[in-house]
């Protein structure tokens, strides 16, 4: 998969000016979304998300740990992401690219700031034992927009995650045995969506070809019009008017994606 040549990039931009995309989508249209949950039986919760040819796997694991000193009565949250070398010819063995670190941070903040997980309910014994919620994200095939695929996957995995059985005597979970209890979640589902600016056009869910020529992007984690976290990535500037359009696009799309998630979770 070569980097999109300038020549092709120019054509993509021209076409976007006419409101059209190479794969026939509208500017505000997602690729076909497939969400499958329970894809890894040993995880507390897991999901596979496909956006066209892009694929990510997300798993949720729980463990018992000590609370942080500044949140004695709350469970902990940790998000990691790995861009598997298998997922793109552009990746090589060795240290992870910045993108995977940023992705984990962006997804972490969206879930944390929206209080999607009720961490207070994940306290086992104040100051001593709490549940540690670990969300691990892996890219399987990168054809653009890993960020949104990861966000959708994290939500789907959390919504289907069960709490492991807890052994009072050892103070540890019994791995591989689960209670019927789900992870306590808020009613609001924060959805993380990224809008890209290419030329003068704003688009969502770029393919790799489009992502290559994207000049700047804004990832917004929101639910019902409330923004919980936001990140502008890449160096091109944005006008306030453009920013307004981005928020409009996010608000409109967020509802569609929410429905998509709900209808795919058993």
């Amino acid at each position: 998969m070569i980097e999109t040549p300038k020549m092709t990039g120019e054509r993509i931009k021209e076409y976007l000016q006419e409101g059209k995309r190479f794969d026939g989508r509208k500017l505000d249209e997602f690729r076909k979304i497939t969400i499958e949950t329970g894809v890894s039986k040993n995880a507390e919760g897991s999901a596979r998300v496909n956006l066209g040819k892009t694929e990510v796997l997300v798993g949720v694991k729980l463990d018992v740990a000590e609370p942080y000193s500044d949140s004695q009565e709350e469970g902990n949250l940790m998000v990691t992401a790995e861009f598997l070398t298998m997922s793109s010819p552009r990746l090589d063995l060795g240290p992870q690219p910045f993108g995977s670190l940023e992705l984990a941070r962006v997804i972490d903040r969206g879930i944390r700031e929206s209080h999607f997980i009720d961490l207070k309910k994940l306290c086992i014994k104040k100051g001593e034992k709490v549940w540690n919620v670990m969300i691990d994200i892996y890219s399987i095939n990168d054809d653009g927009n890993l960020l949104d695929a990861a966000g959708i996957g994290a939500i789907a995995a959390l919504k289907t995650a069960r709490i492991p059985r807890y052994n009072e005597e050892t103070g540890k979970p019994i791995f591989g045995e689960w209670t019927d209890e789900k992870i306590p979640l808020s009613k609001e589902t924060p959805i993380s969506l990224t809008v890209h600016k290419i030329g003068n056009s704003l688009i969502i869910d770029p393919t790799k070809e489009e992502e290559d020529i994207s000049e700047t992007r804004v990832t917004v984690c929101s639910s019902n019009g409330i923004v919980y976290s936001l990140q502008k990535g890449e160096s091109k500037e944005l006008s306030v008017e453009e920013f307004q359009k981005i928020l409009d696009l996010v608000e409109k799309t967020e509802k569609k994606i929410y429905k998509e998630i709900e209808s795919n979770i058993k």
């Binding site: 039986k41 694929e55 798993g59 790995e82 070398t85 997922s87 010819p89 399987i140 095939n141």
Partner: protein, 233 residues
């Protein structure tokens, strides 16, 4: 003698349900998924390509490089992401299992990368990984003398069985568990064998018959998946 009872009701020489598919990672030059029941591995091949760093190149030979990895949530107790001593050893074992069949010297100075990821584990992950890798290499158009099939033969107490599951790896009765992952070429040559447990040498030699028998079914599934990938179109 009463029939030996396995925890999941399988016959002693019965494999779990095999899943085999190619083309699961569209970006890769070749890719495949292989599963024994709940154990699922995916493999993707990139190359031949230039080896970095340059000093690690051999101008006369090609390099086959395998990386085996388990996703953190593939097992009940989370694994820290990143390489471990175990995964590094299995990566090397996988290379050794595949090198005899892969005609890697057709690509002097170049590397063929095989990335294996276990997405769900219930024992025999290295075998599933090797089976997926062989399919992915073929799918990537890499010249090969033969395919390979890999299966874990076990000895539970005194009984030999095919394709161990986790529950059997922890066998507590009698002589306990012995795990013998074996990889064979199409004509039954051994490219990989390991063993943990206890087994008389005479009985160890009997394991190859079981591995060959299982290998036939694995090979059939590998071939079917590769053929279907072209025929479907």
């Amino acid at each position: 003698m009463t029939e030996f009872k396995r925890p999941d009701g399988r016959k002693i020489n019965e494999l779990r349900k095999i899943t085999a598919k190619v083309g699961v990672v569209p970006n890769a030059d070749g890719s495949a998924l292989f599963g024994f029941g709940d154990t699922i591995a995916i493999a993707a091949v990139y190359g031949p390509k230039k080896m970095h760093p340059q000093h690690s190149q051999n101008p006369e030979k090609g390099t086959l490089r395998c990386t085996y990895n388990m996703l953190s949530f593939s097992v009940t107790e989370r694994i820290r992401p990143g390489p471990s001593r175990r995964s590094q050893e299995i990566s090397k074992i996988t290379e050794w299992a595949l090198q005899p069949i892969v005609m890697i010297d057709d690509f002097p100075g170049n590397v063929v990368d095989v990335h294996i990821n276990v997405i769900q584990a219930n024992a025999s992950t290295r075998c599933a990984g090797i089976n997926a890798a062989a399919m992915a290499l073929a799918h990537a158009g890499i010249p090969m003398k033969s395919m390979v099939t890999s299966v874990s033969i076990g000895k539970l107490d005194k009984q030999l069985v095919t394709d161990l599951i986790k529950e059997e790896e922890d066998w507590e009765e009698g002589e306990g568990p012995t795990d013998i992952p074996i990889t064979l070429t199409d004509d039954g040559k051994i490219t990989h064998i390991q063993l943990d447990g206890n087994i008389p040498m005479k009985q160890l030699m009997e394991t190859f018959e079981l591995a060959k028998e299982a290998g036939k079914q694995i090979h059939e599934a590998q071939v079917k998946a590769l053929k279907e990938a072209i025929e479907k179109k």
